[in-house]
Amino acid sequence: MGDKEAGTDLESLKRGTELVKRGFASMQKGGVIMDVVNAEQARIAEDTGAVAVMALESVPADIRKRGGVARMAPVETNEEILDEVSIPAMGKVRIGHEAEARILESIGMDMIDESEVLTPADEWNHIDKRDFETPFVCGARDLGEALRRIDEGAAMIRTKGEAGTGDVAEAVRHQKAIKGAIRELEGMNTEERRNYAREIEAPLPLVEEAAELGRLPVVNFAAGGIATPADAALMMRLGCDGIFVGSGIFGAEDPESMGRAIVEAVNSYDDPDELKEISKNVGGGMKGRSKDSLSEEEQLQYRGN
């Protein structure tokens, strides 16, 4: 391996490709990504076994209480959290807000969540994510939404669920909708798939790919309302590749115990005896509120298209 060969190696170097972006998402599989609002929480999250942290100004439950316009967290908050941990640090931007995303990319955040938890900046268009070297994750309620986001360049899809409620029902609904639609597709012929693609407003090649794979073509996490180890195990049983926990960790009575238990539950999701042990002594979960107590306007999942 002389200098000449090393030179050739460097010339072939490529950053920010689909392979590199989707590869990053694959490394998160089987893991728990935790919402944090400062360096101290980020450190706790890493110590409990999180695979990554998500930097926010405040967790979704507090965003709900406060009301007003929710934006990207301050640059200082993102930087403080990125500097604290050795695991990846992600940040959230408003739907369609390309400038916020450029700022997070410039900071060096490892992944960007174009998130309905923040107030959307564009009613109609999501960010053109192919144009970024930083990978994106986006929320989806059904297969059409998931494939539209993948078409725009998302390297990871998560259920939207109903963030900040501690009510897992919507995440369950969204994951079942995605899986159910793919099962339906598997039984269809070419003609039927073409019609279906039109119906769900998704590009045909991605519809075909999902049908062939029997799953989404990118990593598929659960998010929105996950508050206990059992919630996390439930979402894994539904075929999710991993879990985002928002208010569920630092809104719990004992964040460290809850964090550790949710990490362990994701690995042992199909072992009831172990889940029982894991679920002991974790303290109370976040208080939460049922999503049925929210008006349609108060629900975050209807943001974005």
């Binding site: 170097l13 590869g23 490892d110």
Partner: protein, 197 residues
Amino acid sequence: MSLLAGVVGVQGDVSEHRVAFERAGDALGFEVETVAVRDSGTVPDCDVIALPGGESTTISRLLRREGIDDEIREHVEAGKPTLATCAGLIVLDHPDDERVKSLGVLDVRVERNAFGGQRESFEADIAVEGLDEPFHAVFIRAPVVESVGEDVEVLAEFDGKVVAVRQDNVIGTAFHPELTHDHRLHELLLGGLDKDD
């Protein structure tokens, strides 16, 4: 008689390694069965194991909790073939980083996130000792091997940094051979096994 390939499956890109082992088996004409190892009791049955990419902090913690760490140590020390990629390489190295509870079975020191964050992740063609053609390597927040012990052979360097090593039957890479369709490193590992054993 078929071979059993165990992919340590507590966290990371596990299914990618299982597919790579199956394809490598097909290429060699071996029958290979694969299993994801999420608790103790499986590694002792495996002919070959892989430790995947993922987060080394999370993986090392769960290995210890599940009691898989000692089984991996025994597997490596018995000279059985082992492939460790990225986080897997960090998990096997000498303990240097307080955030990772590594196993210390590979005589190397590894620096985590040596190229930077995801923004600095890349793909490139590299020359690997023992392979005729360059390997298209994907580096994701990759580590590098800072120093190697006497019995460790350097298999590949990139930009002057060691990115693949071999110690007896253990191959460790800073990059992800499981993310491409090139399964030559998985073949190299399986090739050392006698399928009629």
